[in-house]
């Protein structure tokens, strides 16, 4: 799965519009505020909320999941989602790149402060891995852009999309590994839920 993530990130970085990045970076006020909020404010808020709620002692696994979600960089497909909704995708893209650059530094810090020994991976090693994944994929993408050129990337857009879909399939398959077993274990409650939400069961 790490290979699939690495390749997905490569494809995402391959398509980053560098001209748009430069245009937005001329007025970085809003981007700095949002990046700080996304990468510092939200993890701190989630960490404090979990700590106050006593999740660290009551359900450390759940707290670990919430903290990992809070310290992660935004999804690489977020600009595409924004574009689908007719929102400012370029601003989202620039903030996303800035947040991704900060992730290797903020994620180990917050995991060390809030999670501590609940995560068996040492924070420094987590940071190094994030640097390798994010930095490596960005470097590979830059090298491909230099070697192949933007025109060729645009020309082979559909093929790249196809590879992207296959990689997402591999990734989702790996992430959903435990879900099927859980659904089978609770098949009666799950089927009742599906039946209750089906159109025929919903009153018109």
């Amino acid at each position: 799965m790490p290979a699939a993530i690495f390749l997905l990130l490569c494809i995402a970085f391959l398509r980053v519009d560098t001209t748009a990045l430069r245009i937005h970076l001329r007025r970085p006020g809003l981007i700095v505020v949002v990046t700080a909020w996304t990468m510092l404010g939200i993890p701190a808020l989630v960490g404090v909320a979990g700590f106050v709620a006593g999740l660290l002692t009551r359900s450390p696994d759940l707290f670990l999941a919430l903290m990992l979600q809070a310290v992660a960089s935004p999804m690489m497909a977020a600009p595409a989602f924004a574009a689908l909704m007719g929102l400012d995708a370029t601003l989202v893209l620039v903030t996303l790149v800035a947040s991704s650059a900060l992730t290797p530094f903020t994620a180990p810090l917050f995991t060390y402060v809030f999670i501590g020994p609940a995560l068996t991976l040492p924070p420094l090693r987590l940071g190094m891995k994030l640097v390798l994944i994010l930095g490596g994929s960005a470097l590979v993408a830059i090298a491909i852009r230099r070697l192949v050129g933007i025109a060729a990337i645009t020309h082979h857009k559909d093929r790249i999309d196809g590879v992207n879909v296959l990689l997402v399939f591999v990734f989702v398959g790996a992430v959903m590994e435990h879900v099927a077993a859980r659904i089978l274990a609770h098949r009666y409650s799950c089927s009742a839920l599906v039946r209750s939400r089906s159109p025929s069961a919903t009153p018109s």
Partner: protein, 195 residues
Amino acid sequence: MLGLGALAFAVCYAILGLTTLVVLSAGRERAFALGLMASQRNIGLMVAATGNALPELTWLLRAMPVPYLSLPAVADAAGASSGEPPALGCEWALRWPLAGGIRGQLKIPALGGDFQSAASPRIEPVVAPAAAPARCRARARRRVLHPGRIERRAPAAIVVAGQLKVIPWRAMPTATRPMPDHEPSHERRAWRARS
């Protein structure tokens, strides 16, 4: 399982709402776009970085991407979405089933994100056939190529094919006599030397 799903939704919407409020001064649409970005986290990156160090419950929460799929509907309900398909210069189209305001075909490059460029930071909506800019373009073309401008009269209501005449162009083709400033450089130099 249901509790985890509800928690995933709650966290996603809480981050979306808080971020939108924090940057609301930047404008409603931009604030919502940034809130959308902040609420969608790269699960895969953290899973790849932590490897097998995650317990099962954490894996289960990671496998809850459903809240993200409901965000377009939320955008539409909140009125933050323009409701118009964006112009992304792409070739293929898909339908976005959840967003009420985006019912038509959208032309997108890929969910991976190949965006319009750059010269304009704001992605402009696709111009529908009946939209104003298209009409303007059509009107401009009609103005330029209207028969009244070329033939100095209104177009004939009835055309009798047998009475049509072929009038040859009096201008010489550019292959034998090029347009001014389009002739070869050695001819231009010779002409200048003579004059």
